[in-house]
Symmetry: C2
């Protein structure tokens, strides 16, 4: 994590909480088959930014949470997320993740699928230990919705006719609702009123949407070689994302035909360069960056539910950073 990242600053404010989170993660793998910590650490250990658990712990600190359960909750979020990554990489045939070879290429699809299943199950085991039915219900609902979101994406991955609303719903289902669950359940564990918890959920949800839109931009941003992903991944997989959708909507018949062909898998040499050219001509990426910043501001507005504090400021910076990050 770069020292300039607001998440680095957030980590500093979390203090000992980070140590307790690490201990909870490590303990979860004790006595496990050797393959499990190997694969998991490959992802959770190395380049993992731990965005979701840090935001959850941040919300906890914002409300001076004294619940030791918050470390179980934070760890379970990271496990759920990591399980999703493992299965995503198999489904998408990705070659890189967080600047290293994808785990399914290192250990094989079999290990990636089964360790993913283990992390899913472990996430639920930790959630059960929270002994909080309302929190548990929200997390179980979220896990189901994420799985369904992945299937919707599989189904509509090449559909350039998606409206803006449909696209935001799709990325919410896939990505942002885990952010919402992270921050909302953190507030619940900190014994906040339902209305406050819901506002915290709005903070997470909108930050998550900003985060995903920024991710979409990065995949088409040729200046961004710092990203731990292959540039052009979405394009090469024919997976529609905000840049393709925005451009398609603002294009004439010829350019629409280009996107349709390219996204249907009938790609030709030089197509990605052509896509970048179109995006530059139409000034698409700044439009999406602005949209991401709007969601970040919506996230920040939701934090009005908390009194001012260094932690609130840190979370505010994280939201803006999520929208404009370069990695």
């Amino acid at each position: 994590m770069s020292q300039n990242s607001p998440f680095y600053h957030l980590e500093g404010l979390l203090g000992e909480d980070v140590m307790f989170l690490n201990a909870t993660i490590t303990e979860s793998f004790q006595n496990s088959e050797a393959l499990i910590p190997q694969v998991s650490r490959y992802l959770i250990g190395a380049g993992g930014k731990r965005v979701r658990p840090y935001l959850a712990l941040g919300i906890g600190k914002l409300f001076h949470s004294a619940s030791p359960k918050r470390f179980l909750q934070a760890a379970s979020l990271e496990f759920l997320h990591t399980a999703t990554l493992l299965h995503d990489d198999v489904v998408d045939h990705s070659e890189q993740r967080r600047k290293q070879k994808s785990s399914h290429l290192v250990w094989g699809n079999e290990a990636a699928i089964l360790v993913g299943d283990f992390l899913f199950a472990k996430a639920f085991s930790l959630m059960v230990q929270l002994e909080n039915p309302a929190v548990l219900a929200l997390l179980a609902y979220t896990a189901t919705a994420i799985a369904e979101g992945e299937i919707v994406q599989l189904h509509r991955a090449h559909d350039l006719s998606l409206s803006d609303e449909e696209y935001i719903a799709m990325i919410s289902g896939k990505t942002s609702i885990l952010f919402r669950a992270a921050t909302e359940t953190a507030a619940m564990l900190a014994r906040q009123d339902p209305s406050v918890a819901q506002q915290c959920g709005e903070f997470g949800l909108n930050l998550g949407i900003a985060f995903q839109l920024a991710d979409d931009v990065l995949d088409y941003d040729s200046d961004q070689r710092t990203l731990g992903k292959n540039i052009g991944d979405d394009f090469l997989e024919g997976k529609i994302s905000a840049p393709a959708l925005y451009s398609y909507r603002q294009s004439n018949t010829e350019i629409r035909a280009f996107w349709q062909r390219a996204m249907s898998g009938k790609r030709q040499k030089g197509d990605f360069e052509r896509a970048l050219e179109i995006l530059t001509q139409q000034n698409i990426l700044p439009q999406i960056q602005q949209r991401a910043l709007d969601y970040a501001e919506k996230a920040i507005k939701a934090l009005d539910c908390a009194v001012d504090s260094p932690m609130k400021t840190a979370l505010t910076h994280c939201a803006r950073f999520a929208a404009s990050r370069s990695y």
Copy 2:
């Protein structure tokens, strides 16, 4: 299901419970992406024997359970099992399941992985609705142990030096603990004492081991063309199971070398026929069948915790059938 099967008789005794189970399963897919009910019904609908939910509902009836939660519990068991099947088929590259083409060959690995994830998550959502912390804890523990069991199997799938105990532990981790969880949590939901619930768990566990040993036999039983699996699947995947282990232990150097070569993937034409020949000469399959029957009797003994009733008799027959089934 054959009308001679004790499970068919069990289904009859369950009466309306079967209807409520079906309704719970169908409701769970309402408003879901179309792919989810399609893939799930392909497995749950058609050839699915619903062994786990029927045993759970049977235990419920044995103790006159009035809890409407038992349908949620039974459905969640079937979802968890179906999720495992979907992922197993991808991991094992199986071509057939329940006499039909494996779902990953019909819809692709992507759909099999993601619908499996959805069913896992849905299973947990249903479990959460049971609102019973002890039941939930046991089910979450079981799901984690199953995932770990799958990984252990991936790791030791070709290891002919497994002791009998290690092998039983391996199939328990992979298969039988879900049977245990099914019957133990059914008794818990029926408000039975912990000691009675534990006995019911023993019933499920031992029936599950008998079930898996019978499955191992069927895969090498050339007379059994009625089975909805490819005969010789385990052998061709180099996956050790009871027949290979039993034969290996009772063999001279030459036959041991044969098993080692065949199980390490260096197979030659005619190897499966040679394996069948060896098993016949050594009289291996009847030995394993006897072992399966021993576990069935252990299962039946555990039912001493309940007073005699038609349901108890039906469950007894199911245990013996699990050990000696021909499909």
